[in-house]
Symmetry: C2
């Protein structure tokens, strides 16, 4: 196909007429489809139905009654499973409640209210606190920082992780730059995997702030879409080796492994960081839901049980990701108006449309009954300076719905582009 | 018996000798008993064993898949059960995770970081923030405030609730006094029940701070020890009627109803307060564990199911509370050296020993293998100015252990008193 960006005006006008007809056909279908959030489908949740009859015991390996109070750090056997999956020591893992987002929020708020183990003072006593945010990124990371009054400075996210040179430049001299978000494996939304080389540089780079933190949100560590089971970079080991053991704080959960609302979350970090976290937590909680942790331990047995389980997820969702590729490729390949990621893991496809048309695409889709994540939501303050990024989340709808929705999205992408090009 | 406080010196010396012999007999038993925390016994936890096979469905009444993300406010049917138990509207209830302590912590930290709906500014921007703390009270309430840099000013806790005149005097002119703790029903540790009259005064009293909050921790609302099923004062209704609808924020949980570590917590408050709470929460969480909420809904059916369940708890623990009364009465009645509460609900017996001897009693007990809550822990910064208060928690040990432990505690109380009196 010919790139639309070089079409003469009369041909653009023709194309616009044809596309408007396609779009009216799409609207006539009165669709009601939703590609907004990275939610597991009901068939994925069914994979964990066995959890509902567990646990069969109410004592953990140490003989502790999991039904009673206590045990802030979580069950040893649950921590071991996370440790194996994340490539860290079980002693560095804390197994918590149902939300890793909550653990991230706790960490940021406690850094603000108390400072970390190596902070000269609570972050809230700094004039300004800034975070480095690779973009596009995870909207909830950004809204959390905005809520807490933290400024965000963006760097590009590449195929092998964040732009290290840009990060280095931001952190080297400005002591107000206290932290950084990173989804290292199958990033939300680009699918990028941070390489060991990039991770090593991030852990070793000089920072003006002595208490710089990388919030390493490994939400998709084991969420492979192919038989390439990518191993995450060893953040804790790299940080320790370069003399910055307290820099990374790692997060993960079983939200997209078992039940999205009723899984188990975890945090992994240096001894100083975990002691600091548990000390703060001790004023806010008596212990996590250990019954739910034991439920998960009995269900999986061990980390290999989790890995086997993830292959069942892959079998269910890989076809949906293929359908996204097929629909976008069928309509948009070669038109020069869109690029999109081909992730081998995670929950999203990252679509970049013609500059200045993302909002229009989302609006057109909405009017055709296809809900997309709002344009710009992968950027701090929802501000995509190029208005071109759209996050697609194909797991929750059925395969047929994904096919229908994505064919529709492709029409909207092309229509918005041609509208824009025709307008000159 | 004669009061020991008026015994002549020679008789005191004799008594001391006899008591030392009793104490050596006690030590010779090499006990290992623990009356420190308000934890349910294993037999109490067994009452809820049926939870482990639930839920049988994975949809709530509205058809929502409880296994997936979302629903920050909790399941409607769970909120209705709490509403019935707490005497509030279901629309004013938020059903959360496994810990009401966590919800309290969230409320206090968000008042600090953002202020409430009627705050002129975030509390953290005030020079000083103070809380009124009825004493003796719950140690975790006080340690939380200390952690968050909030000053505590104490008022006496009476049989019908906090000393209202003392509270009024503290809040009337000092705008730095922003809040107050209260366990209204079967208070920790005194067992006091705040009367409707006292509650009405607390909700109506003028406060210098426009955003004064009463954190109404109704942890023991349905935890009756007799067939007198005391009804809690209607905090939200009284507050609303007196023009201060946002003053109270109520907390409760099923921690001492089902599983102490794996129950469901709740918050109830005005529309402004719940909207404010949910807004803040939306940056920290995607939703509570709805599977566990449905598990509880299926287990209880309705609020009457909870009430029937609580009668089974009563049958198990009322004998332990009687054993405490019997042991203390048998040794200490009439000696003029100790008084203790006779609670008709809750989890504690509050023991006041001879002034200046509580620490010594706890030490003596410890050396005899009986762990008691540290002296003073029912006061801010663990500072009991009279060194006389000891909290007894008889639910976790077996009945036989409570009998043995309390007989030992009574020896320690008398020994410490006579040591003190003999020393002049």
């Amino acid at each position: 196909m010919t790139s639309l960006t070089t079409l003469p005006a009369d041909q653009l006008a023709e194309r616009l007429t044809a596309l408007r007809a396609d779009y009216e056909d799409l609207r006539a279908k009165s669709l009601k489809l939703d590609l907004t959030r990275g939610k597991p489908g009901a068939d994925q949740l069914d994979l964990s139905e066995g959890l509902l009859g567990l646990p069969t015991s109410h004592k953990d390996r140490s003989g502790t009654d999991v039904r009673n109070y206590g045990g802030l750090e979580g069950l040893a056997e649950m921590r071991e499973i996370f440790a194996d999956l994340l490539g860290v020591d079980a002693g560095d893992v804390i197994a918590g409640g149902n939300s890793s987002l909550t653990m991230m929020y706790q960490v940021v708020t406690w850094l603000l209210s108390h400072g970390g183990p190596d902070s000269p003072r609570p972050w809230s006593q700094e004039e300004t606190v800034k975070f480095v945010c690779p973009v596009p990124g995870y909207d909830r990371h950004f809204t959390m920082l905005a809520e807490l009054g933290i400024e965000m400075v963006t760097v590009p996210m590449h195929e092998d992780g964040p732009d290290v040179a840009a990060v280095r430049a931001l952190v080297a001299d400005d002591a107000q730059v206290k932290g950084m978000w990173l989804v290292p494996t199958y990033a939300n939304p680009t699918g990028a995997v941070t390489s060991t080389e990039v991770a090593a540089e991030l852990m070793a780079m000089p920072t003006a702030a002595p208490d710089f933190r990388i919030l390493w949100d490994n939400a998709y560590a084991v969420h492979h879409l192919t038989d390439v089971e990518t191993k995450s970079a060893d953040a804790l080991g790299l940080a320790s080796a370069s003399g910055h053991p307290n820099r990374p704080i790692m997060f993960a959960s079983t939200s997209k492994i078992t039940f999205a609302g009723a899984g188990v979350a975890a945090l992994a970090a240096s001894t100083d960081n975990t002691a600091w976290y548990l000390k703060r937590l001790s004023y806010a909680a008596i212990g996590p839901d250990k019954v739910n942790q034991l439920r998960h331990v009995e269900f999986f047995g061990d980390a290999d049980g989790v890995r086997a389980h993830m292959r069942k997820h892959r079998d269910l969702i890989a076809p949906k990701f293929s359908a996204v590729q097929d629909a976008l490729g069928a309509r948009l390949d070669g038109l020069g108006i869109a690029t999109w990621s081909k992730p081998i893991g995670g929950y999203f496809v990252d679509l970049n449309v013609l500059d200045g048309t993302a909002s229009r695409v989302v609006q057109l889709a909405k009017e055709a009954g296809i809900a997309l994540t709002p344009a710009g939501s992968a950027f701090p303050h929802s501000n995509d300076p190029d208005d071109r990024n759209i996050r697609l989340a194909p797991t929750f709808p059925s395969l047929g719905e994904v096919e229908t929705a994505m064919a529709g999205v492709a029409v909207c992408v092309e229509l918005a582009a041609v509208e824009s090009l025709a307008a000159g």
